[in-house]
């Protein structure tokens, strides 16, 4: 889950060694060379509170690991007879290999939503276990990890897209943030900002192809569509995608765009100088004003995203992760117990999102997928000083409620960045037209990914 906040691309870059070697296999039942040949396993029963045993749980390294450590301590108190080995692991490099080899598997692990569908063969079918909670769990999160109607990854974090803006600059330019109801309003606001400050290029557009595509999916998801439909077919050639791509082209043509890589130095400089003032991005952007920005600290605010059509959904999801239990796990029931505790039980999710040693105000970079944990009147994290004391919780959970459900993320999603992600960059650079982005990406994804899936 940790990478909800940050570029989720060690699969493409960074993680050295052979990364997710098998990140995208199809869910096939038969035996394969080297595979165990076991039928997909279903986990149904849950053990009682007096359960005993030992489990190994994988998580990414970094500060979030420490947050989870504290939350798992709460679990240990509730289930004193379960020993939890919580390990920080380079999940992108290791988990897929480990699932293939079936050796020294964890009993449970957090993993990117985009990776799970392809590994269903190696995972427990958790459909029955999540059934009691289904109604109250984000429909979007349930939809992305469903393979042939079965759920193999149970939802962890939900990452609604928000509009991040500089309150001071908008005020100077006479723009009322509450009036930013559609994406056309957003372009108008950007023009006003540039009139006030000729150096301003207020809108952020992402330069990293992977994050850029993730961002595009947020804008499309807001309209209830996504790159692939439930049958895994590309559905890029649609009104919804055209809306987004044309809007991007308009912004670029009007010279309203700062084209930088997410929170790299150039991006930070443009945020600090006031050149950028409007950033439509997931809730995890909140860590920028809190940890990275100095001059702009306290001046940023969050609002729901504008809508594509008046009255349309005001948010879409950008990234997210779920919890999986390998089919060969030794103690799957106990791993489920831990997940259930962290996700659905009040002491569990409060320990994750609430104030902790690492984050004294609480974890503000995502919201729970579970409805009862996401009540606007019962904030888990505190108002954020770096956002001028704004109640980010309320903004984020309200936005999260509007996220439309989607289709399963295709196993080839990450690889499609070579086509769609790169073409999006060409569009932002003014070198490609929206229709060409759609045609070229569709053709290449079809030929190289869908046809060969």
């Amino acid at each position: 889950m940790s990478r909800s906040f940050v570029p989720r691309r060690s699969v493409l870059r960074g993680a050295l060694g052979v990364g997710a070697l098998a990140a995208t296999a199809g869910p096939l039942a038969a035996c394969a060379p080297g595979s165990s040949g076991s039928e997909p396993r279903k986990l149904t029963g849950t053990p009682s509170a007096s359960a005993k045993g030992e489990i190994t749980i994988w998580n990414r390294s970094g500060d979030l690991f420490k947050v989870f450590d504290a939350a798992i301590d709460a679990f240990r108190k509730a289930y004193p007879d379960i020993k939890v080995n919580h390990q920080a692991v380079d999940i992108d490099a290791k988990l897929a290999n480990t699932l293939i080899s079936g050796t020294d598997l964890p009993d449970g692990s957090f993993w990117d939503d985009a990776k799970i569908g392809g590994q269903a063969e190696h995972l427990y079918d958790l459909t029955d276990l999540i059934a009691p909670y289904r109604d109250k769990t984000s429909a979007y999160k349930l939809s992305v990890n469903t393979v042939d109607g079965r759920i193999y990854g149970v939802p962890w974090d939900l990452d609604p897209g928000l509009l991040w803006y500089r309150e001071d600059l908008l005020e100077d330019a006479g723009v009322d943030p509450a009036g930013l109801k559609t994406y056309d309003d957003l372009l108008a606001a950007a023009r006003s900002l540039r009139e006030k400050n000729p150096k301003a290029r207020p809108l952020h557009m992402e330069k990293d192809p992977f994050l850029g595509q993730l961002w595009l999916e947020m804008l499309a998801g807001q309209q209830g569509t996504s790159l692939a439909d439930a049958d895994g077919q590309v559905r890029l050639d649609s009104k919804e995608y055209r809306n987004v791509l044309n809007w991007i082209r308009d912004a670029v043509d009007d010279d309203l765009v700062t084209h930088t890589e997410y929170l790299k130095q150039a991006d930070l400089a443009a945020l600090e100088s006031g050149q950028q003032a409007l950033v439509p991005w997931a809730v995890w952007w909140s860590f920028a004003p809190q940890q990275l920005l100095k001059k702009g600290k306290g001046k940023w605010r969050a609002a729901p995203l504008p809508a594509w059509t008046p009255g349309g959904a005001r948010s879409g999801a950008m990234g997210g992760s779920s919890f999986i239990i390998p089919a060969k796990a030794k103690n799957p029931e106990l791993a489920w117990l831990l997940y259930e505790f962290l996700c659905f039980k009040e002491p569990g999710y409060s320990a994750v999102y609430g104030p902790s040693e690492v984050y004294p105000g609480g974890l503000t970079t995502s919201v729970p997928s579970y409805g009862p944990a996401r009540r606007p009147d019962k904030p888990l994290f505190e108002p954020v000083a770096a956002l001028g004391g704004q109640d980010l919780w309320k903004v984020a959970v309200d936005a999260a409620d509007t996220i439309p459900s989607a289709a399963p993320i295709p196993a080839w999603w990450a690889k499609s960045v070579d086509y769609l992600g790169n073409n999006l960059q060409r569009l932002i650079e003014g070198k490609m037209a929206p229709d060409d982005v759609i045609d070229d990406s569709t053709k290449k994804i079809q030929r190289n990914l869908v046809d060969r899936a």
Partner: protein, 311 residues
């Protein structure tokens, strides 16, 4: 080993025996050479051949790391051979080759000629300096490259700015990303090339030069007509080794650019890896064998081209 009983050679009989006709020494033992080379073939069979046969089998299937492996004949091969990206990965490698091999041979030879001069002082120091990059861990240096060639805050642009040059988008532009990676490769391996060439130069007997000098040959002519033909073998060796390395280059783009921007640094090795990354193991295996064939052909070609006429 063959020798259960090792008798120490007796000193009084170690005086060089007269060379005997018929090279008897190579005839006598029958079993020994097989036993000496056996360990390699055992290890290779277990951890090379077995997986290799498996990979060959995979290359005719659509196996994705899980589920059934269906036999699909040559489909993976035809897919690759008609794929724009496959050819562009080879094209990228070819450009890398041009940026690396000629530069390394010419530059390395020049440095080696300077180093070979017996009257050069500090020769040992220069040699150590040149070959130091060769022993540094590639992963570590690739990471240093990322930091040093960062557009906004990197060392190189900082230096550029100091002398009044503008920032260059080293790793973010299609024009510069290849040269920047080539530079890493050159930096890391040119020292090795220099030493190899130096070895070739030093094997040129001095009297050849003295005779040439007496004949009144100019230095330039000495170089072209004496030195170059004599280091030809070293050059051929380097060209083969570096051609193999460049076409299989993987770690540099993997760590530094991940093949970007716009796939401009997606080398043969990296493109192959990306199939594996996406668990398209059948295509990955097919790609490997195509790459092996290409590299094999290129090596043969370079050996041929560089073979001297008299051989």
């Amino acid at each position: 080993m063959t020798s259960g009983t090792l008798t120490p050679p007796r000193k009084e009989r170690t005086a060089p025996a007269a060379p005997r006709p018929g090279r008897s020494s190579r005839r006598r033992p029958f079993l020994a050479p097989y036993l000496f080379i056996a360990p390699f073939y055992v290890v290779f069979a277990a951890f090379g051949l077995y997986p290799l046969v498996f990979a060959l089998q995979l290359s005719f299937t659509d196996w994705k790391g899980a589920g059934a492996a269906n036999f699909i004949g040559l489909e993976n091969y035809t897919y690759l051979l008609t794929s724009e990206e496959f050819w562009s990965s080879l094209g990228n490698s070819a450009v890398m080759w041009l940026l690396i091999v000629p530069v390394q041979i010419v530059g390395g030879l020049a440095a080696a000629v300077l180093l070979a001069n017996a009257r050069l002082r500090l020769r040992g120091m220069f040699r150590v300096a040149f070959i130091a990059p060769f022993v540094t861990p590639l992963v570590a240096m690739a990471q240093v490259w990322i930091v040093a060639f960062d557009t906004d805050y990197g060392l190189v642009n900082h230096l550029f700015n100091l002398v009044g040059l503008p920032d260059v988008d080293w790793l973010q532009s299609t024009a510069w990303a290849k040269p920047t990676l080539a530079l890493l490769f050159l930096w890391k391996t040119t020292g090795f090339a220099i030493i190899i060439l130096l070895a070739g130069l030093q094997a040129v007997p001095a009297d050849v030069y003295e005779a040439a000098a007496l004949d009144g040959a100019s230095r330039k002519r000495q170089f072209w007509s004496l030195t170059l033909p004599l280091v030809r073998r070293s050059i051929a060796f380097l060209v083969v080794v570096q051609t193999l390395a460049v076409f299989q280059m993987f770690a540099e783009p993997f760590v530094v650019t991940q093949g970007g921007p716009y796939g401009s640094t997606s080398t043969g090795g990296l493109y192959l890896y990306n199939h594996i990354l996406a668990s398209d193991l059948g295509t990955g295996a097919a790609n490997s064998f195509l790459l092996v064939l290409l590299v094999f052909a290129l090596s043969l070609l370079s050996v041929r081209l560089l073979r001297s006429r008299d051989e």
